[in-house]
């Protein structure tokens, strides 16, 4: 679990099997997700115009994505006019190199970080480490993950899989290696844990010359970046250092300030169930004698343009990373975030990761199947991403292959390995179902041999019968009963009648 990397992860079913068997993990996840989901439902129910806000958020994002090229150029002009510098990064490697060069140019070897999914996505901390630069996470949950040499397990609550006792143990054992040690006799009460983290982080904020952040939104018309957070650590990182570097996915741009009105209502209610997030920080380029005197914006593509080219899958780019879909997902609740093999777990991760990274690896090919298609994620999504629709679309790509965009080029994907038997079975079932006579012959055979059917199965069916009993095959399928009792020529009872 060390190094924050997901490379070499097993495919979802194997990783999930391990998680399902971990009773502490399941209890932690169940408690946390149910608490947040219930609070969210109450916060959303307070607004009578929620459906309109949801539709507005969807429309704004779709409009922006449709004209992304135009808004990004406008954003670049606005940022530079305000005294910032814009860098374009087509992939993780390029983004990491740009950031490392910028830090090195300041002569510093330490940076403080605001919690940011984009920098997690590109593995920035590890890349900086390789350049001799130490990155300190300052969000409480990210700090727990970093000190525990762990990986984030949730978008909003990266340490959701840890309980208080585990956090106390991590603080006691690891804090000294990273700066101020944990106080003697630290207990697992939330106030003591928070105070230990506050003291540990405070000395880093006051010393740091370089801050690194992401952004929740970027306003094209003014070049303003926005970070919403609950703890205030983000605002310290954004205002105290001399140099601020923000790494932001290109889909985070919105056209104007008026658009923030929608998202600053829907994001906090969907994520932390708050009416308004405690800290909303906004910065526009640089200002003399106030805040950082150098500001760099690294605009990250890393598979986003490819995703935009897919007309069904592109709606994933509307995501505002609220994580409401994780908190209602019955699969996430049992499998945990690590099983998804990406910094984006849960339902949104299951559609985002295989689009950003392609479906070439085992883990990415298994992600579209990490869902029962129950639709709870779509129901809570504040920008109405039809996650089940995209999951099914990506399943098609996995089993059938087909056209996709990778690296800006249209390519023909081959079906993923290991689906040949399923494909043959689906084809055979399709042929049988196309002919009612074949279906009926199969049913009759099953009925005649019903006494011979085992209640557990060999082969691939074992997965079913390992934990569930199979139904008994009835003596007579319905259609035989119908024909026996009603086959009096009362219309529609012959096989070919409606073909």
């Amino acid at each position: 679990m060390s190094g924050g990397t997901f490379v070499g992860m097993p495919a979802f079913p194997a990783a999930a099997r391990e998680a399902v068997g971990d009773t502490t993990l399941r209890a932690n996840l169940r408690h946390a997700t149910h608490t947040i989901r219930n609070k969210r439902a109450r916060a959303v129910a307070e607004l009578s115009d929620w459906d309109l806000l949801r539709e507005a958020g969807k429309q704004i994002k779709d409009h922006t994505l449709r004209h992304l090229d135009r808004y990004l150029v406008q954003l670049e002009e606005s940022v530079e006019r305000a005294g910032g510098t814009v860098h374009w990064a087509c992939d993780a490697e390029e983004a990491n190199r740009i950031v490392a060069d910028l830090v090195r140019a300041t002569g510093e070897t330490e940076v403080v970080k605001v919690k940011s999914m984009a920098t997690q996505e590109i593995g920035l901390n590890e890349a900086l480490e390789a350049e001799g630069i130490r990155a300190y996470e300052t969000d409480l949950a990210e700090l727990i993950v970093q000190l525990g040499r762990d990986r984030p397990s949730h978008i909003l609550v990266p340490a959701i899989h840890r309980n208080r006792g585990e956090i106390r143990d991590i603080f006691r054992k690891e804090m000294a290696d990273w700066g101020r040690p944990a106080p003697d006799g630290l207990t697992d009460t939330p106030t003591e844990l928070a105070e230990a983290a506050r003291l540990h982080l405070r000395e880093k904020f006051l010393r740091a010359k370089v801050g690194i952040s992401g952004a929740n939104f970027m306003v094209a018309e003014t070049g303003t970046l926005v970070v919403v957070e609950s703890e205030g650590n983000g605002r310290m990182c954004l205002t105290l250092p001399e140099t601020l570097i923000s790494v932001v996915g290109i889909e985070k741009v919105v056209p104007g300030w008026r658009d923030l009105e929608v998202f600053l209502q829907t994001l906090p209610r969907s994520s932390t169930a708050e009416r308004m997030n405690p800290y909303t920080s906004m910065w526009t380029g640089t200002t003399d004698q106030d805040g950082p005197n150098a500001f760099h914006l690294v605009l990250l593509d890393n598979g986003r343009t490819d995703t935009l080219a897919d007309e069904v899958g592109r709606q994933a780019l509307r995501c505002i990373r609220c994580s409401a879909c994780l908190n209602v997902c019955p699969v996430y609740e049992r499998a945990g975030g690590h099983a998804y093999g990406s910094v984006y777990p849960g339902p949104i991760g299951a559609i985002l990761s295989p689009q950003l990274r392609g479906t070439g690896s085992d883990i990415d090919a298994s992600l579209p199947y990490a869902s029962s298609l129950c639709g709870a994620c779509y129901e809570v999504c504040p920008v109405a991403i039809d996650i089940p629709e995209v999951l099914v679309h990506l399943r098609e790509r996995v089993v059938q292959g087909g056209e996709a965009t990778r690296g800006g080029n249209r390519v023909m994907l081959k079906p993923a390995k290991g689906h040949a038997a399923e494909r043959a079975a689906m084809r055979a079932a399709g042929l049988a179902f196309a002919r009612p006579g074949a279906l009926r012959a199969g049913q009759r055979l099953a009925s005649r041999t019903r006494r011979l059917h085992p209640r557990t199965l060999p082969g691939p069916g074992r997965a079913w019968s390992a934990s569930r009993d199979l139904p008994e095959v009835p003596v007579e399928p319905f259609r035989d009963w119908w024909q026996r009792t009603r086959g009096d020529g009362s219309g529609g009872t012959t096989e070919g009648n409606a073909q």
Binding site: P13, A376, R468, P477, F478
Partner: protein, 253 residues
């Protein structure tokens, strides 16, 4: 009124008693029911597993069988297969058109989509009844099933129907809106997570003390019932159609 019963391939093959119950119930309510023998499968398993192209001929076949003007409505005792027709057939038509394959699929499914109803929806919305004259002297808890709940928006229709059943005591299921973990091929592809979800559903159902767990989808009931059987739960799964068909004269056995 003349309706075509779309029983679904799962019910036809494994749960014929549900089909017989629908026929009995609708006939009792004065509806002329037909079962077009040419029906097979709506293609949901294909579509949801990623075989949209293999599902297309099944959608066409379904539309050929049920699209006939001879039927005022198509009724199915499956929220999931009902949602396939209503929600996904139009989407399949649009996708085929977007792929430059013309609008023949969209045209083919167009007549059948608006007249396809899940059973409880048909009873409440089309026939306008909530008391169907049923008698079922048991304690029942109801699992709404995801496609019935979210894709079709059945809301309280099933529970209104159940509350009107004589002798029936309806008890609330904790976590009712949570998926039971069936999910078609999900139950096999992610068997461990599916089984964990099924076990939690059964535990929640057990906590109600009800004798019967009902739902409007036999595939979910197959998964839940198979889990109950394995856990030796003293509770039985019964499709809502069978409860609604049961009367004092002819009680459900």
């Amino acid at each position: 009124m003349r309706v075509a019963l779309f029983l679904t391939c799962v019910n036809d093959t494994l749960y014929p008693e549900t089909g017989r119950a629908v026929v009995k119930l609708l006939t009792r309510l004065g509806v002329d029911v037909d079962f077009p023998m040419a029906q097979t499968c709506c293609g949901q398993a294909h579509y949801n597993t990623g075989y949209r192209h293999q599902a297309e001929p099944l959608a066409r076949h379904f539309s050929d069988v049920f699209g006939s003007d001879a039927y005022d409505a198509v009724v199915t005792p499956s929220g999931s297969c009902g949602a396939m027709v209503r929600e996904l057939y139009p989407r399949m038509g649009e996708r085929a058109r977007a792929e430059g394959r013309g609008d023949s699929l969209a045209r083919s499914v167009a007549p059948v989509v608006p007249k396809t109803y899940e059973l409880t929806e048909f009873l409440v919305d089309v026939l306008g009844v909530t008391d169907v004259g049923a008698y079922y002297p048991h304690t029942v808890t109801y699992h709404p099933t995801c496609h019935g709940l979210r894709a079709l928006g059945l809301a309280d229709r099933p529970s209104r129907l159940l509350r009107a059943v004589k002798g029936l005591e309806l008890v609330e299921l904790p976590g009712a809106e949570e998926c039971c973990g069936f999910g078609g091929t999900f139950a096999v592809k992610n068997a461990d997570v599916s089984a964990a979800m099924g076990t939690d559903k059964v535990r929640n159902a057990e906590s109600t003390g009800a004798e019967v767990l009902s739902a409007a989808d036999n595939s979910c009931l197959m998964h839940i019932g198979g889990t109950m059987s394995r856990l030796r739960t003293a509770m039985r799964p019964v499709h809502i159609a069978e409860i609604l068909a049961s009367t004092e004269e002819e009680a459900l056995s």
